[in-house]
Symmetry: C2
Subunit: 312 residues, 2 copies
Amino acid sequence: MRRGILIAAVVFAFTSLSHGQAASKLAERLGYPADAKLLIVHADDLGMAHSVNAATIKAFETGLVNSGSVMVPCPWFPEIAAYSVSHPEADLGLHLTLTSEWRLYRWGPVLPADRVPSLLGPDGYLHRTESEAAARVDPRHVEAEIRAQIERARAFGLRITHLDSHMGTLYQNEALFRVFLRVARENRLPVRISRDWLGRARFIPASLGPDDVVIDRIIEINNDVPPENWAAFYAEAIRSIRPGVTEIVIHLAYDDAEMRAATVKHSGWGAGWRQRDFDFFTGDAFRRLLREHNVRLITWAEVGKLIRAPRR
Amino acid sequence: MRRGILIAAVVFAFTSLSHGQAASKLAERLGYPADAKLLIVHADDLGMAHSVNAATIKAFETGLVNSGSVMVPCPWFPEIAAYSVSHPEADLGLHLTLTSEWRLYRWGPVLPADRVPSLLGPDGYLHRTESEAAARVDPRHVEAEIRAQIERARAFGLRITHLDSHMGTLYQNEALFRVFLRVARENRLPVRISRDWLGRARFIPASLGPDDVVIDRIIEINNDVPPENWAAFYAEAIRSIRPGVTEIVIHLAYDDAEMRAATVKHSGWGAGWRQRDFDFFTGDAFRRLLREHNVRLITWAEVGKLIRAPRR
C-alpha cells in the first residue's frame, strides 16, 4: 500500500514536471519565440443550433475568432459540416457530445440507442448533465459513440483538427478520460488540456504521456461574472496572458427567439451570455487588446502538427 | 382475370358509395344540422422547429387555428409536448414522421436505427422525400416506428386526438396505408382522409372499413399559388366550403433566421410561405370570412368521438 502511494506520488511529480517543461517550450516547439503570447479563440457548441452556427460563422469572418468545435449528434450539425466543406481552412474540431442539457430541445446519440443504452436518460435522449452522464455511462459505450461521432463528421467532409468534450463529461473520471485520450491518440488529434488543469484530479497528469500536447492555460468566463462586467473580465484576461499557448473558450450565438427558447430556464450559457461573447470577440476593443498586448492568434491545426510530426 | 377486375370494381363502387353516404351524414353524426359547414383549421409540423412551435401556439391563442399535429422525432418535440401538458384542451395529433427533408437540419427515427434500418438514408437520417421513403422502407419497420412515435408522445404527456402523415408518406402505397390504418384503429384514432382523396388510388377506398371516419374535403395551398394571391386563394376556399366537415391544412412559422435556414434551397413550405399562412389565419379577414359564410370550427377530438363511441 505504502509503496503504491509512493510510486503514484513520484509518477505524479514526474508527470507534472515533464509537462511543465514541455509546456514552457510549447511556443518554441511551434516555431515561435519562447516569449510569444499565443492564443486560440475557440467557440464551443457548433451544430447545436442555427443561431450558434450563424453567429460563429460571422465571428470567423472577422478573423478574431479562429477555432471552434462541433457537436455531431445535434440537429444543426449538417449546417456546420457544409460550412466546413466550403471553408476547408476553418479550424474545426469535435465537441464530443454525451449530454443533451436543454429543457425543450433535445438530441440523442449518433449510434443506435440500443447499442449504447447507458448513454440515454429515461426520456430517450442523452443525459442532462455531465455528472449524471459520468455516473451512468459504460465507458465502452462512450468509446463506441465518440468513434461514431468522429466517423460521421468525416463522412460529412469535416476535417477535424482537435477534440474536446461538451460540458467536460470526458474529464469527469479516469475511465472516461482514458477513453478520450485513447481515441484522440489513435486519430493523432490534440485534446483540450492545459497545465492549469493538471492539478484538478490525479488521474489527469497520470493519464498523460510524453507525446500528448498540453497547452499552458485555458480561460473561460463563468456564472459569477455579472453581464455588466463581461467585457472587463475578458479584457483583464487578455492583459494577463503569459508567454505560451492560451485558449479562450467562448460560446457564440445571437440573443434571438431560437436561442432564448433553447436555453430557457437553464443556469448559464443562455442567449444573452452568447450574444455578449459574440459582441466582445467580434469587436474593436478585443482587436486592440490583442495588438496592445502582442497576443498572436494560432489554431489547433498548428498545435496538432506536433502530434502528427516527429517530435523535435 | 376478368372476374378479378369485376370484383375489384364492384368493391370500389360499393366502398365509395358507403363512404359517400356516411360522409354526407357526418355533420349530423357529430350532432350538427345536416347543412352545417364545419371546419378544422389544422397546423402541420409542430415540433419541427422552435419557430413553428412559437407561431402555432400564438395562432392557437387566437382561437382561429384550432388543431395541429406533432412530429415526434424532431428536436423541438419536447417544447410542444410541454405545451400540450400545460394546455390539455389543445387538439393535438401526431404528424407521423418518416422523412427528414431539409438540407442543413436533420433528424432520425425514434427507434434505434439498427432496429429500423430501412427508414434511414445513406447519411444516417430519415429519407429526404416521401417517394424515396416509400420505395425503400420495410412496412414492418414503419409499423414499429410509428408505434414508437405514439408511445413517446404519450410518455411525454401528449393527449393524441388524431393521426396524419408528414409529407403524406403513409399514403404512398397500399402496404404503408394499411399499416397506418391498423395502428390508427388499434389506438381508436381518426386519420386524415377525405372523400375527395378516395379516387387518388384504388387502395385507399379498398382499405377503409365502415368504422373509419372519412371527412368531406381537405384544402391545402400549393406551390402554384404566388405569394400575392395567398389571401385570395384562402378566401375563395372558405367561400366555397360546403356542408359537412372540411379540413384546411396549413403550415405556420415565423419568417425568421431559424426558419429561413431550416428551409433553405427547398421547393415550397419555406419561411415566407409559413409566415403568410400565419398572417392569414390569425387575421381579421379570416375571422370575418368564417362569420359571413357561417363556418363553424370543430376539432379532431370531436370527430374522434365517432370512433371511440358506439356508432349511431
